[in-house]
Symmetry: C2
Subunit: 436 residues, 2 copies
């Protein structure tokens, strides 16, 4: 029977259980299956399982973990409990884990593994191959990239195992290594780190401090997680909330509520300005109630076009396709797009009013003036929505905020208030002496 | 001077240029720099550069490309031109490229490379190491995972180079290989492929057809691109448009406009129902114009809470955290969240009206009835928005559509119409005999 298939069943059942059921299932698995499952879990889940066990049993589970995973787990604990868990590790690993914990989880230093394969520059290729074959290779994060260090642990160069195998057996490592490789500093943010991987087509990167001392390596499989995580954060922000930082069904109800209520209330307070704006035009509405009918149609069109523009720009910024200096190119492009889109919607709106008028005679004698008011307002509102939606991410980034906070609802709120002013101003101009 | 640094400058300058400037810069680079730049470009950009060159020069550039990249480039061409470019390749590569072109770009078969390292099951470990050292290793996509095939090219097992180096030299490959490895079919969609990598923590996966014949391998660096691409698609869809399929500043103005105008018009047509709904309550508005003032505030609150719910669920579905069968868990959770969020907004709204009344006496004698109408409507609208936003992705997926089409603007449109009905119904109940 195929182990991977069994593991897949285990994972499926596991995903459908709640906390106490999981603890029971975990206790009933045989050792190999339990270990494999344990290693795949997120740090918070690993911790939950460990906490249900007596202290002495925790030791062997903690020692199963690679140093970077152990650091993640310990960082889930309250500071007062961390030393208990750190004490379960053997001495060298404990020191490695403590070094990793000095960095935030979303920095290169927090993502790196200290377990990489080292070579000396004065070894021959043949000697290096023999040396590697004698190492306990499973304990390295990767052996496919080899790091050449001097006795002070300064990084001199890198060499792929592929190149090592293809090199002349009596050549020196210093002759065949690539000197001055791409490196990252421990403090590098994970989003920039993922761009570094993309720009240089890397499969791993050495992390090196200011003095050139090698600290660890980050491998591309960690970058896949980083990319997913960053996309999820931006996704949730653009939906008009704080990022959850945990899978949806796993995050606590209270935490989730808080992260949604904050933005929702802020948007609500902003949206209150629409009531104020409408209040200024109360007299117009009283004289021509028909004007009120188109308010939702007009402001939502501005919001929708703004939502398109802002998501386009936020994503392009996250991928590095659009930079701050591109703002003018983007503004021109979006202004043109807004004009075209506004004309399309304006025309559709006008046709709708003419059609309803000819069938139901809904809008009375001044239907054409009303139609023109709606059409011109739509052009103005959609242009404003597109421009505001595309520029807000630039403004936020410039001011040092996350551009993804220029969420679709944020832009919609901004556009709603302005949209009302545009609509009623156009109405005053066109309907003066007709209906108003 | 460090080559990587020069390349980085070249890339920066390149990014700031337009088409003709790029062609000129490319022509002026020395051969090594030009080749390195060329290999990093997207297929469409590579093609643009090639098309500016005489036919004979295109040959050497085409032959620089790995088969999967060549296939991507050829697929950018009109079908009538494809054979010209295919003819530039050497015969075996051309056959490989044609095989790859049989699959869509977003399937495992379209992503795979046919250049993997093969071993025979009856080789010894030592023999395999010697064999590998004699191969032109640069021509493989990876040599870190080795594929054990029978003479009919059926996949028998896989073996990492790490395991090979650590194995007993006289063991047979068939003894040390992992039999029954995880595989993908050529038709597997790239989104599911990326989940396969995540679930099994893979660095590469063999692609095998129905008869077990090995077709190629997909490596994790391709998966990083897939993950970014899928996130971008979902991001743009959730913003209320079709996915662009190209970087924002690179996509043609007309194409971009079409992809935005389609959804925008559809949403506009849907939003027209608000005018119809408002029309039904025209009499109420005429009698109590004050009701119109809160229309934008109330419907946008429904839209915003719906936007939060839909982005949460869409992203959780894309990551595989939430499945179709979870709909009831999500519905209960969101209904509870909607109630809490609605109560918060209702309370804030009520306080706002009481405050304005006590300072400006804006709302006349019936301010409390108006305040209660707004507060109760907000609870109803936010609950409906949250529920609609969270359930729409399930409905779409169930019906075979992309759940990401449940965009924030789509949900907002849905909620706007219902929100109006809720608001005016509550108003009729509370204000009957008071203002109405």
């Amino acid at each position: 029977m195929n182990r991977d298939l069994i593991q897949e069943d285990i994972r499926k059942i596991w995903a459908s259980l709640d906390g106490p059921q999981r603890r029971q299932m975990f206790a009933e698995l045989d050792q190999v299956d339990a270990e494999e499952l344990f290693l795949e879990l997120a740090a918070a889940d690993q911790l939950e399982l460990l906490e249900a066990r007596p202290l002495l049993q925790r030791r062997s589970w903690m020692r199963l973990l690679a140093p970077d995973d152990a650091a993640d787990l310990v960082q889930c604990l309250a500071p007062s409990e961390q030393s208990d868990y750190l004490g379960l590790l053997d001495e060298p690993t404990r020191r490695e884990v403590e070094a990793l914990m000095a960095y935030a989880e979303d920095q290169a230093g927090g993502l790196m593994s200290p377990r990489f394969a080292r070579l000396r520059p004065d070894m021959t290729v043949d000697h290096a191959v023999t040396y590697l074959r004698r190492q306990p290779l499973q304990s390295y994060e990767t052996i496919y990239i080899l790091y050449v260090l001097d006795p002070q642990q300064r990084l001199l160069g890198v060499l792929s195992l592929r190149e090592l195998l293809a090199a002349r057996p009596d050549a020196l490592i210093s002759e065949v290594m690539e000197a001055e490789p791409v490196t990252a500093t421990p403090g590098l943010d994970q989003e920039e780190l993922s761009r570094l991987f993309a720009a240089h087509d890397l499969s791993s990167v050495p992390v090196v401090d200011e003095e050139g001392i090698m600290q660890g390596i980050v491998t591309i499989d960690d970058i896949v997680d980083v990319v997913q995580e960053e996309a999820t954060e931006d996704f949730q922000k653009v939906g008009g909330m704080e990022a959850l930082d945990a899978p949806y069904l796993r995050s606590g109800f209270g935490t989730m509520l808080r992260k949604r209520a904050g933005w929702l209330t802020a948007l609500f307070l902003g949206e209150m300005l629409t009531a104020t704006a409408m209040g200024h035009f109360e007299e117009e509405i009283a004289r021509a109630v028909v004007l009120a009918l188109f308010v939702p149609l007009i402001i939502s069109s501005g919001g929708n076009s703004g939502s398109q523009a802002t998501t386009l720009v936020i994503r392009a910024m996250a991928l590095g396709e659009v930079r701050l200096s591109d703002w003018w190119r983007v503004a021109r492009r979006e202004l043109a797009a807004g004009l075209c889109l506004g004309l399309v919607l304006g025309l559709v709106g006008l046709l709708r009013i003419l059609l309803w008028q000819s069938v139901f005679a809904t809008y009375g004698a001044h239907f054409l003036a009303i139609g023109m008011t709606v059409a011109f307002s739509l052009v103005g509102v959609v242009m404003f929505g597109t421009l505001a939606g595309s520029m807000l991410p630039f403004v936020l980034r410039r001011a040092g905020f996350d551009p993804a906070s220029a969420s679709a609802p944020f832009v919609a709120t901004l556009v709603d208030v302005t949209g009302l002013v545009i609509y009623f101003t156009v109405a005053r101009l066109i309907l003066k002496g007709v209906l108003l």
